[in-house]
């Protein structure tokens, strides 16, 4: 695979997720303004933080008058699961110069990771892994910046109940289901999925992180038995 083919593959894998991300970005822009954040600051948050659910939470916490330290702590907790993605892609990015690692870490979101994963699981040491992740990250970054800008500038004209946010779980299903080819992987999915539902009440989406950890443990436990 050439660089440009990998870049385009990453972009293409990410595109369906934009169906769900763009309305979310528009709503973020609206919520940020309602929370008393000035328009320019609301737009800049999208490039400085670049983490959808964390930005949403931050705007809501500030709007509710939460202390600044609590807000920073909550952003850290809500993004904790990205450490798992970091560990997961680290071997594939091992030999890259630091500027590539910094760029790809900045772009390492749920969506970009999901878009790159089918290829990375087939070829864990793929020489074009960075172009693939860059293509996916670039597509998401652009969609996110433009949609939050649209939310700030024109407000929400989208009917809230179109259900476009369903595109994200559907894409994750489309990516994960074909990967489940062993009892260990099935166990990881069942335990992580069940725990995510049971722990959904934990603050700042930390349930997602602990549910994923439980899934990892279940997969490794089932996988080590003959």
């Amino acid at each position: 695979m050439t660089r440009s083919a990998a870049f385009l593959l990453g972009m293409r894998a990410l595109l369906p997720m934009l169906l769900g991300v763009v309305p979310f970005g528009v709503i973020y822009g609206v919520v940020a303004l309602q929370s008393g954040i000035p328009p320019l600051a609301a737009v800049l948050m999208s490039s400085l933080v670049f983490a959808g659910s964390a930005q949403f939470l931050l705007a809501q916490l500030l709007g509710a008058g939460a202390p600044v330290l609590l807000a920073v702590g909550a952003v850290g907790l809500i993004n904790l699961r990205h450490a798992l993605y970091s560990a997961s892609v680290a071997p594939a990015l091992h030999a890259l110069p630091r500027r590539w690692k910094v760029l790809l870490a900045y772009l390492l979101t749920d969506e970009a990771y999901a878009a790159a994963i089918p290829h990375l699981m087939q070829q864990p040491r793929s020489p074009q892994a960075h172009w693939l992740l860059f293509g996916a990250g670039f597509a998401l970054w652009t969609g996110w910046q433009l949609s939050t800008l649209a939310g700030v500038l024109v407000g929400t004209q989208l009917p809230a109940d179109l259900g476009l946010d369903f595109a994200l779980p559907l894409t994750f299903i489309a990516i994960v289901v074909p990967l489940i080819d062993s009892r260990a992987r099935l166990a990881a999915a069942l335990v992580a999925g069940t725990m995510a539902v049971l722990l959904a009440g934990l603050p700042w989406k930390t349930g997602l992180f602990f549910a994923a950890l439980a899934g990892l443990a279940a997969g490794a436990f089932v996988g080590r038995r003959p």
Partner: protein, 109 residues
Amino acid sequence: MNWTDWLPLWLACGLLTFAIRYSFIGLEGRYRPPGWFVRWLPYVPIAALTALATPELLLDAGNIQLGADNPRLWAGLVAIAVAARWRNTLLTIAAGFAALGLLRWLGDL
């Protein structure tokens, strides 16, 4: 408040988020992770993405909804079946949306 007054907080949140995402990418090759950690890693894609998807199917405003009146659950199951049979991303998404639309339409009748 001026818009620049918010930038230090955005920078703090951005740097923290970046540090979390850079963590293992930056450490790779400089340390040897424990064996259990290495055995857990291959399951990250499946565990993390399933954890993100399932609450969207099963929860409505924080409550578990397993009934016939939860269209997202049944549309999600259709998507899982289509993904398992055809392994095609766009087809899976189209089937999930079609099922959701149909179930909502039936629910409104």
